[in-house]
Amino acid sequence: MSLNKQTTIPAALENIKSGQTIMVGGFGLIGSPLSIIHYLTEHDVSELTVISNNVGEKGEGLGLLLRQGKLKKAIGSYFTSNRDVAKYYNEGKLELELLPQGTLAEAIRAGGAGIGGFYTKTAVGTDLAIGKEVKEIDGEKYLLQKGLKADVAIIKAWKADPLGNLVYYKTAQNFNPNMATAASYVIAEVDEIVELGELLPDEIITPHLYVDAIVKSEWILTKDGVKTK
């Protein structure tokens, strides 16, 4: 198999355009594609809708793009830890859509799996159920959540082979494998690119059919914060 999906970050970013919906992997900065985000700060793009658990942290990760005014809307579960989010939201500079974390993760999986929507018990009878369809199934109440899809997903993996098979590192996995399935164009930032055949069939988490481009990481999360490699 001679196909090689490795490319540079700037080349991969040609696929991200203003007004698009972008999924961004990570739990805070853990497992977030920090290098791609760094290049996005220099990429001419605006009015993005991001689907990500958080908007990075204050002034870090996706938080950088927020401060640049590149984000129009954020769909996620926990925006509290980046205090800039409340500020931009109150100033009318950022729209927010808050989902329970499990509903968010499942909606992304559903989007990738061709599931139009699903019924969850989570959030039934709470303020997050306002405006959502309720259905009784076998005597229990459920909320309808539609699947989520994106134009582009930028994700972080540990290792890739040139064809795009991916494995993840411990709790840096989080939303990344789900987002890999749910976007029209998927860019995987990885720490290591190994020879074809080096990732064993049983250890591959994301099969290559989900991945469009592989780029090498340049910025990583260390004990002392985000650093260049």
Binding site: S81, Y89, G102, A105, G125, P177
Partner: protein, 215 residues
């Protein structure tokens, strides 16, 4: 006080149960459980969480509070969707969570404060909905001294589901027959003190009453 509550909560955990710990006092429960008997799940994608020494910290191995954790023997990692499938699907035995308010009907408010921007929920609603048993660990009153165990939550509730156990620095309540029953006084707490700091409707276990007070 926080340690006292955490230590008491640990006593509720059956051997080999699968436990998810929320942020705050619940996180401290980890210090009082037997790693050989209890298994910790964290919703960001790990089963088999343990503590970690300063020198072995890996910035990419964290719990749901983004604090560094260690990997127990036989641990496993998985995606967020798979992790919440475990929670929502009823595969977590116990979730120990904090609360802003708990009310007479057993409902919990622990994700939003009226008047402040509602911009974060995380896994709170999934855990409260999906875990087989809920233990609430919380200070008995707010910082301003107002009761947290109230007749009706004034803060937005997290789920319609009832929390089975409440543990504070003053008391332990168990949900029984449609209301909370005060089953234990903590430390030097008295029935009077609990009564004065609790506006929820609750019953008192017979064993805690003096002979003359029993009905």
């Amino acid at each position: 006080m926080r340690e006292l509550i955490a230590e008491r909560a640990a006593k509720e955990l059956a051997p080999y149960s699968i436990i998810n710990l929320g942020i705050g006092i619940p996180t401290l429960v980890a210090d009082y459980i037997d790693d050989d008997l209890h298994i910790l799940h964290t919703e960001n994608g790990m089963l088999g969480v343990t503590s970690v020494d300063e020198e072995h910290i890996d910035p990419l191995v964290v719990n749901a509070g983004k604090l560094p954790v260690g990997e127990a023997i036989a641990a496993s990692y998985f995606s967020s969707a798979d992790s919440f499938a475990m929670i929502r699907g009823g595969h977590i035995d116990v979730a120990i969570l904090g609360a802003l308010q708990i009310d007479s009907s057993g409902k919990i408010a622990n994700w939003a404060i009226p008047g402040r921007d509602i911009i974060g929920v995380g896994g709170a609603m999934d855990l409260l909905e999906g875990a087989k048993k809920i233990i609430i660990t919380t200070s008995h009153t707010s910082n301003d001294g107002s009761p947290k165990i109230v007749d009706k939550c004034t803060f937005p509730i997290t789920s319609q589901r009832v929390a089975e156990i409440i543990i504070t620095e003053l008391a332990v309540f168990n949900w029984k027959g449609g209301r909370y029953e005060l089953t234990e006084l903590m430390g030097d707490a008295t029935l009077e003190e609990v009564k004065s700091k609790t506006t929820a409707n609750y019953s008192i276990n017979e064993g805690l009453l003096l002979e003359g007070e029993k009905v």
